[in-house]
Subunit: 331 residues, 6 copies
């Protein structure tokens, strides 16, 4: 009975130690992560009861992955075990003018091949108030797309708030469908959409002049959508970024100041931390601006932490939101 | 222009550090290895020019794998780059009464999906005198089985000696064929077969009372086969094994004494080291008994070395063959 | 609502890497462990729902400790946060003729100073069928002794089976009480006692000629006690031990064969693994002999695993119980 | 017979590797450090004979701590062994906008509980010309406060220069006294005081408008005080600080330029390095401005070095003092 | 039959981990590197066939060094084995205002003592189109100087392009000769000279007002020289440098923009990467400006990579050359 | 003013981590060690004041070496700084039937090239009662041989007990002298000789039938010699040895039982630990048999400890001497 439920693939993350290149690495650092699970982890650290829905192979590696989520406080009782393999991603962390590199190896994963009917949404969503999905899931396979849609529809029926990270990579989508075939139906059941202007155009075919225009037109096309959110990253180098965010609430465009992050320890998962922070803010504060700022602060915090997961207390993120970024020692 | 050519899948090996379990590992040690490539590596350390034939994904991880073979001295100029993914295996090293565990994730690898016609056997085998294959390859896919057969036939035509490690795991062979469908034709072109009594029965359907009987009957069925070889491991614990070997040369059964290995540092690749040692012995000594002993010594040495590859000089192995197993310091 | 509830101090375990001595160590390996929590962890791996009761400081280190237990699958919802400090133990792992060394620094820990009334036993034991305590707890402080007694009495009232590891170290017990002052009352409410002949004499002042005699007399003095259990370790060296166990069931003395463990990876927590195995056996099998053997197998398995916790499946332990100790690779 | 004698608690420093958080750490880096001992270590690297006075538990961990100081060149012959426990501090190193975190666990340490009469000041101060203490010591316990006072008074009698780092943390001082009860008497015997305006007000109740005003009034209240010194840190982020210092010599206020430190490797011990540099400067140069600059240079250098201790030659610090901060390779 | 041949000493590089100082290090990171071999390694990554000429001791350490070059793709068939010892250099990596430190221990190395006649230049240069040497080699010993000269002369005869890094350290040159005695003869056979104004003056005794003047006069003195190249580093701190380069082609002075590198991961080998990039550019592009920029980009890339060797693809360097220095993640 | 003075080269020890081979190692573990310094270190742990005499290069690496000895408690005030280089040895640790390998690189070290007159023996031996040397020193260079002789003669004059480890490796002695030229004169001034029968024959040309015969004849030739000592190692494998010792006191041959060591953690320095134990025993006990046993126990303990140095208390060694080799945990 978790309050917030997320669905998505969780991958074994294999990262080269320090700044070493793939060719140089004689060991890989190991964590287990995925965009939606990262959202669940961060929210668990802030006191929310969260559950993640996925499937792992029934192997010691699959069990290790599940334990890793449990470590962060995520309820793993709805995770299935079975199927062919663990999805993997390889990460090499860049510095200065050398960007990080990610190599995915996720085809045919246990999650991507899980039968849609294997999810008991009634049971999974019992007691939930929030459901989160992302555009990676429908890109993996028909099965995953169907599961995602069924989750959204079940949530819709129960009056659960739905958020969706409408984000896509063109090098996924190899099972015969395009984003335009699948994502609109998912979006139709979604309250809060994370998307940028390009997504709106490329996925929905909606021509738009700028982000506000995209928001207005997206809402018009999908009346269920109440808010459209986006982040903007200025990448000065692999080690130095600025970060800000925008939220369209149907009436006006909210915007945060830039946060300066230098040096970046690990930027993977920064977007997921933003979403977690935003969800937390919307659930906790009666102030959308504050919620948006909390998302940016959470994302900034994530950039200083190794691994995909935002291991951080609410108080720490709130302090950053309030501008305490001087990095003084806490004793 | 390598003297000894091997074909087979090379996997990224991810092993937990020390004796930690998969659930405990926060890093994996990284090497790249595969049974046939291990044979090529060991032989390269002993001065043979060797080349390995396989396919890696055209990614930094695939390039790292190729570099790793080159590090051991194996010619990588016949390695293809392309296809979907790197094969992976996960290893947890046991101790005492806890055995090691291996989890394979090799389905759909770049090697398994390489087109048979992509191998230019004329070019690959130019100047070669020995070709080695193993029963894993035809188990992976029809493409790999075909490539293996074409390699054997090309070698046969050129009068190259062919050795085959007739070994199989029942949990492979998922593409619709059985060992009995495929391996006999490969064996027909093979001079030296590594196999045990059970393989002979299960693969070829040859009923046999003991290993000598199996050898005689196998040779009868496959006239090209001149020698049948097998090793015998007594596993007292994960840390303490005894090892010996048998060779049937068509006339009599040669046999070595047991070598005592305690403690075992890493037993993966021990069988490949035996084959490499045997090939080296047959190519170098005019004495089959000595060759067989060199194989066992090489395998014993491998058990004391981390990783799949036998990183060792010929002199070191020869000293063990001659019974210098006291482990005194060399200065 | 956990089935099995344990109470006890959990310490930060700081161990020198490999076999290095305290003076040599420039890093310590970190886990969090305690005898009773180790029992809960092992049982969680075998599918039991377990909860551990303790108190940690309300600091990042205390939170890390709680997360560590959650990682193993233990319910941490009854853990309190507050009090002065995290208990610590320092471990140096020995080899051959050099024994391991442990230095405790646990005085004044958050658990030792937790008020007895802070535990809501009704809530904690809701749905439980087993309660486990150990003799370390009443040795720490009056508060801990009281909490332990109240837990036992609450369990008694609810008809929950109680097991107690009657084990003591003379260098604890610094708050003015002796084991003889406190442990008898705890034992009076306990069904299954883990103790040896010397404990029986020194704690209860019961003169006894041998272990069976001690069992008979202990049961006479404490009618609630239905079983008395003990393990026997033959320490050939720090790296090589033999292990067996005895169980007196009120009628006869059951006994297992010796299990040979060589080399030992980490023997700390071996006794706790035995207790976990015994509890699992008694809860699962209708066969006390099998349960006792499962305990010994679990303990032997633990000796091959780094850290206090037995990270192992039921199937792995059962295989050892059935004599599969050859340590062959599992693929 | 050391020239410079320091007194104070030395703690086991347990720091998470790299930038990992407490929850993530599976190992801690180990050093042994304390503010006053850090002063002694730095001075020893510059050729001064220094001795540190403290007490460690008589355990392998306590002995390791003493060896660690000896490694840096500090005379450990006046260190006592005994008492209950090693003080510990846990450190998590921050980056960018995430500050470092320190968790102390020092209550009831062997030093805090050492009897004042256990120090033989006549023997300890034989041949000494400088004695250094800090405000942490009287904050720990009555025993430590008394020992500190007796040391100062013994130094006073022998005409030894006394420096005191009047610095306090409100979360210490738990034994019933306040800084205002204890520190004035210690200050009365001190020649050189390290303090800022806030300390002067909060400890001595001296109202002051700015730092110069504080210096004048402090000297008036404590005629033995000849110099008052302070550093000023501008914290742009956890990774980027500016550092400068001020010295009031009774006549005028000396001031250094800011030194820019980016990135910071480890800022803990930066204040101690400043004090060591200042003492070295005052003992070595006939130029207070140069001495103050040497202090700032030493502190800046410390920020680039892992651990509390300033492991650096005099020439390296002097080069920084002279403005060589370009960081070119030295061959 | 390599296209590009380099000669020079290869040293075992022992570097302290992270930013630790020599005194702190309890392990050293290990690579094998030398200026000219670094050039060969980088060029091999870009698809050139390269061979390095040197001598290693006939020991496991010497063999490890050779394997390390082979790992990078360098042909090691012309490496000799023999002589007294492996050259070593110790590296401590600085940060912020603390510069890195290098301690050399190369006297009497196997390379420095190799007999000039042991090199079969006819065989070595078979098929080559480029030969590269550096001023370190003639500084080591008469034998090395002679070998270098013979290599240049053999290349000259075969019409092979020769490049020379006229760079020297005054603390080498201990065998009785000065740079002025030896380097002019080497330069006389060289087409492309890497040198700065100070080198020109100190080595050749040519007075010059600025770098262009130095180039003109050097060409006048050495008519074979067609290009003179130099880099210019602005060292803001050990962690932050700017880098640019100049090329005099006999007619005009080409110049690149500054590249900003922050933070620097490892700047050793940065100069060698520049030379490799320049050679690649001159061999590949029909555009000297682009070649010079490729050199600077290669050098900048090297600063972000651990170890002396530039482990990087041509595409990565080319992207930097085209100004893609934002460090965005590549997926 | 140290009680026990030792002279000899100290080398940087570079060992591959775990059981990895030189070719595999990407880092080396670092300690600093030498036979005679190892004796001084062990004795310092047992409360003796010891000083070591040697010379290190005046570099950060040389200073690190000195600090390392100081860490163990050895007085480093008589160590000279200067000369060309640090001696190095490379160690690969074997296991089972693979022996460890050592590669020395010590020619031309700062110690080997130190001028004999640079040692102020009057100052060095002030207050000493024991002087220890080994046969490695005179093998290095004429300078080292002379220094050793002068030290022995100075000790002789002051009535200091002299012990000498007459041990030699034929691959040293490259400066024109043979052991027979130099060692007899050193032995003439020595009280206690560590030597075996082969040394006696090869160095002194004394034909002898067995060890007792060698002892008698050696004493006859060198009347100052009062005791001859030897150890005997049975090497069952690199991981399992038996160890015992013999002492001829001029009247009879004392002998210890074998101590069984399995597994060996690090056997380098085992002989030095024996000598340290013997010296401690002779200085402390009034019982030669006990002293000899203490030597064997110290050596056995050393085999369980990483590094050359015996980091161990007197009580630990004494317990082994008394037969406590069961390796039980000490709490």
């Amino acid at each position: 009975m978790a309050q917030i439920v997320t669905i998505g693939e969780v991958l074994l993350r294999l990262s080269t130690p320090g700044f070493s290149r793939f060719e140089q690495a004689r060991s890989f650092d190991v964590t287990y992560a995925g965009g939606e699970a990262n959202v669940a982890s961060a929210l668990a650290y802030w006191g929310h009861s969260t559950a993640h829905v996925t499937r792992f192979p029934d192997s010691p590696v699959g069990r290790a992955a599940a334990q890793y989520l449990r470590f962060h406080g995520v309820d793993i009782s709805h995770i299935q075990f079975g199927g062919p393999r663990m999805a993997v991603y390889y990460l090499e962390t860049g510095a200065a003018l050398r960007g990080s590199q990610i190599v995915y190896d996720r085809a045919g994963s246990s999650f991507a091949t899980a039968e849609p009917q294997s999810y008991d949404w009634d049971e999974i969503l019992k007691g939930a108030t929030w459901f989160h999905w992302a555009g990676i899931t429908p890109a993996l396979s028909q099965e995953a797309a169907d599961a995602c849609l069924q989750g959204i529809q079940a949530a819709r029926k129960k009056g659960i708030t739905v958020s969706g990270d409408i984000f896509y990579r063109s090098n996924l989508w190899k099972y015969g469908k395009t984003p335009g075939d699948v994502i609109p139906e998912l979006t139709a059941g979604t309250d809060i959409v994370i998307a940028n202007q390009i997504n709106v155009k490329e996925i929905f075919g909606i021509e738009c002049t700028d982000f506000p225009d995209a928001c207005v037109k997206l809402q018009k096309a999908f009346p269920q959508v109440s808010r459209v959110v986006d982040t903007q990253r200025t990448s000065l180098s692999a080690s130095h970024n600025l970060l800000k965010a925008f939220l369209w609430n149907g009436e006006k465009m909210l915007e945060t100041a830039d946060v300066d992050i230098n040096p970046i320890v690990d930027r993977v998962g920064g977007g997921d931390a933003f979403i977690a922070g935003l969800i937390h803010g919307l659930l906790t504060f009666d102030d959308e601006q504050k919620a948006l700022e909390f998302g940016v602060a959470a994302s900034a915090m994530k950039h200083t932490i190794e691994g995909d997961a935002l291991v951080s207390t609410e108080a720490e993120v709130e302090a950053i939101r309030q501008g305490e970024t001087s990095g003084r020692i806490k004793r």
